[in-house]
């Protein structure tokens, strides 16, 4: 079975969970005898052996360089030597045409496309080749806009894609409901396939922690509460800071570690100063590798306060590193993870109450971490992979689910 997989990022050049989820799903599918060719919008060395990874290069372009984060602009270097930067819509259009050119000389049975940036390409190839198309929504535009309508151009692409696709995969019931609500398609066409996390992808923690200052504070009785993720409206960090103020009033020896970058960066810094907790909030910027791992290692508690989180891998990652979590009820992961505390993203008082309670009780954090350790292996890629493979098989038989 040969699958043309269209995606926008893969580790280590990923901005967040999308790249990780694509990588791990493909790896698990490849182990199940699915032959995958993965087309990315940029060139990089991924060191991947389980599938073929190619860059979609438009005619006349020599190379496309990722500037580090998937949603930033890429640098296009042309054959004639000049170079320029393209915005995200243009990139999506260029990707569409490049993929269509490449697909003309390829053989595959099915198209599987991840998130809206690849959907134009997916629709075009489906129109040209007539093979089944599965669109996989790791988030919908209204999630990213934290409950607002979002960008109409993006909505248009999402709507067309879910209408025209033969089958739709949503990463949670929450996302499935959002798709039905926003685009009015038949819920039976949407299959929920939860994301997961492969423990082997997570490097072990080393003893020397990057956050030397925080380690020092901890020796003096401080506790560290962390969040790792993009600093965007969707992630609900302003609520976390308001809760942080209440926590710090009770427990002055608490540090909130915020790891990530995004358009809310300055706003959040300003807000923590306005709330008078500037000293207790540490912004570490976007991190990967050791400093990323160390942000879990230094934490006593992880909080994911997202306004809308289609799935949300970070609490699982935190769990693998032994850190218990408080997660928003408005997240897909809340549908599957039992050993954690759940809170409505808007309920700042309750968020503060739970943070204080967790920080005050070593017994509870210990019990929860131990329970997580036995729970996490049950959330492996095994079930999602067989769901996706069965979906491929049904599509190839021409039978709708």
């Amino acid at each position: 079975m040969k699958v043309l997989m269209l995606g926008w990022e893969l580790p280590p050049h990923n901005s967040g969970g999308l790249g990780v989820a694509c990588y791990q799903l493909c790896e698990a599918l490849a182990k199940n005898e699915v032959d995958i060719e993965f087309i990315l919008p940029y060139q990089a060395d991924h060191n991947i052996s389980f599938m073929k990874v190619t860059a979609a290069r438009p005619k006349g372009v020599l190379e496309i360089l990722s500037s580090g984060i998937a949603y930033d602009s890429y640098k296009y270097v042309y054959v004639d030597g000049h170079s320029d930067y393209k915005d995200i819509y243009t990139q999506s259009r260029l990707y569409e045409h490049a993929v269509s050119d490449m697909a003309a000389s390829m053989s595959f049975d099915i198209i599987h496309a991840h998130d809206w940036l690849t959907f134009r390409a997916a629709l075009k190839v489906k129109a040209e080749r007539g093979c089944p198309l599965i669109v996989h929504l790791h988030s919908v535009e209204s999630d990213r806009a934290a409950g607002q309508l979002g960008n109409p151009l993006v909505r248009e692409i999402e709507e067309l894609a879910v209408l025209a696709a033969d089958s739709v995969i949503a990463v949670s019931e929450l996302t499935k409901r959002a798709i039905v609500r926003d685009y009015g398609i038949n819920p039976d066409k949407i299959e929920v396939v939860y994301n997961s996390i492969d423990r082997n992808m997570l490097a072990p923690i080393s003893t020397d922690n990057t956050y030397r200052y925080l380690t020092q504070l901890k020796r003096n009785g401080y506790k560290v509460v962390s969040n790792v993720g993009r600093l965007t409206l969707q992630k609900g960090l302003t609520n976390l800071l308001h809760a942080a103020k209440m926590v710090v009033e009770r427990m002055p020896r608490t540090i909130f570690l915020v790891v990530g970058s995004g358009e809310q960066y300055f706003e959040l810094i300003r807000l923590s100063a306005d709330l008078g907790i500037g000293e207790n909030v540490v912004f570490a910027g976007f991190q990967r590798g050791k400093p990323w791992r160390d942000s879990f290692a230094v934490s006593d508690l992880f909080v994911m306060p997202s306004v809308s989180e289609p799935f949300g891998l970070t609490p699982l990652e935190a769990g693998f590193y032994g850190v218990p979590s408080i997660i928003s009820k408005q997240s897909g992961v809340a549908e599957v993870l039992a050993n954690c505390l759940k809170v409505d993203f808007w309920d700042v008082n309750e968020m503060a109450n739970k943070i204080v309670g967790m920080l005050n009780s070593d017994a509870m954090r210990r019990t929860m971490s131990a329970a997580l350790e036995s729970e996490l292996p049950h959330l492996s890629w095994e079930k999602p992979t067989s769901q996706v493979k069965q979906l491929y098989e049904r599509q190839l038989k021409g039978v709708y689910a």
């Binding site: 209440m246 009770r250 039992a338 050993n339 954690c340 505390l341 759940k342 008082n349 309750e350 503060a352 109450n353 739970k354 204080v356 309670g357 967790m358 005050n360 009780s361 017994a363 509870m364 210990r366 019990t367 929860m368 329970a371 036995s374 729970e375 049950h378």
Partner: protein
């Protein structure tokens, strides 16, 4: 001669309201949830009264009037009686009508439905005495048989009960304690030759209490005649000890399951054969000879497949919460402020610890059914916040803790 010993346990805890760390030290009304909330004790009591207490007492009273041979034993926690007096005097009167027939025996236990036996002998004895007083006051009975909370039993408890002047103790007829022997006889505890031991036949009791309404159970539907037919097969036993929660009737097993009809027809079917009797627990102790000694160095309870204390004190959250609570004993009793002591005792109720059990949390099961909380972690946090308040009140009164 063969007898059925029907023993029903009636109890309602004072559930905690949603109580945050920001309430601690400010509001002391942990047991007073809003009327609208699901934790409102008054509302729960009225609901259970309507579904279970009133209709069951009506059936029981009719049976007592119709069959002079029909008898049963009841234990009612002090906390339940207190709530009935306050909110449902008519329900209390319906229990008094039962005992008024002279054929309903009341069993002794701790007033607060606590596990104090395992933490403080003097506190435990105080609660047993408080229970004795309320039973005397409301029912004019003096219990001579003891049951510890959750039927938690070991050799020490037997020795204590003998010393305290009881003539028998009720316990779980757990096969690991009995070995090849059957619970359908009367025994003597090792080291307490002056008293007897009545052991629950958990197979038969659970057929009614847990499996009755389960349509996938191979014996479903269970009728009184089928049940009595099973008992008739057994030619040698002297007593069938059917011990269960009173709320089995109408609450755990709904009216629609036919549970009330089962109860209604049980005496008729059983008394069809001559030599068949019903006995109260002390009557059985007086009339039936012990067939041997039972040794129970470890603690046996009536819960879960382990039949030990792990449902209440198995994880470190539960252990830490209980230890913290009992550590307040000395300062509280020294201060001798009744309002604080009463709140402290209400927090000792075993239900609070049961809600913190994570044993089966991942599968979501019977624990979840009985818990007002979304998760055991929330239960623990809420409990600890109330504990913090109690501690803060002690500190306000100048007591160092």
């Amino acid at each position: 001669m063969k007898s059925i010993l029907l023993y029903l346990h009636v109890h309602q805890p004072y559930r905690l309201r949603h109580y945050t760390i920001f309430d601690a030290g400010v509001n002391h009304d942990y047991f007073d949830a809003d009327w609208e909330s699901n934790e409102n004790n008054h509302k729960i009591l009225m609901k259970v009264a309507e579904k279970s207490y009133l209709p069951t007492n009506e059936v029981l009273l009719k049976l007592l009037q119709k069959y002079p041979q029909f008898k049963l034993s009841l234990s009612m926690s002090g906390l339940l009686l207190e709530q009935l007096e306050k909110w449902a005097p008519d329900v209390l009167a319906s229990f008094q009508a039962l005992t008024g027939t002279g054929r309903v025996e009341l069993v002794s236990e701790t007033y607060h439905h606590s596990l104090a036996f395992f933490y403080s002998r003097s506190e435990f004895e105080t609660q047993v005495n408080m229970h004795r007083e309320i039973i005397k006051r409301l029912f004019n009975q003096e219990p001579s048989v003891f049951r510890n909370t959750e039927l938690a039993y070991n050799n020490d408890l037997a020795a204590w009960a003998q010393g305290a002047g009881f003539k028998a103790v009720l316990a779980e007829g757990w096969h690991q304690m009995l070995g090849w022997r059957s619970p359908n006889y009367v025994y003597t505890p090792i080291g307490a030759p002056g008293i007897k031991l009545l052991l629950k036949n958990y197979q038969l009791s659970d057929d009614i209490a847990f499996r009755f309404g389960n349509s996938s159970w191979e014996e479903w539907p269970l009728t009184a005649s089928k049940f009595v037919h099973w008992l008739n097969q057994d030619q040698s036993s002297t007593n069938f000890n059917l011990f269960m929660d009173y709320e089995t009737f109408g609450e755990h097993q709904w009216r629609e399951s036919g549970i009330f009809d089962f109860l209604k027809f049980l005496p008729k079917e059983w008394l069809k054969t001559s030599g068949h009797h019903f006995m109260t627990v002390s009557e059985a102790v007086d009339k039936i000879k012990s067939v041997g000694e039972v040794d129970s160095p470890g603690t046996v309870t009536w819960a879960d497949t382990e039949r030990d204390l792990s449902a209440w004190l198995g994880n470190s959250m539960q252990q830490q919460a209980a230890e913290a609570l009992y550590n307040l004993e000395m300062p509280l009793l020294t201060l001798n402020d009744w309002s604080l002591i009463e709140d402290w005792r209400k927090l000792q109720t075993s239900d609070h610890f049961y809600y913190m059990c994570i044993k089966w949390f991942n599968d979501g099961d019977i624990h979840a059914y009985f818990s007002p909380y979304d998760s055991p972690y929330e239960a623990y946090l809420n409990f600890m916040n109330a504990f913090h308040d109690l501690k803060s009140r002690l500190m306000d009164k100048g007591v160092l803790v």
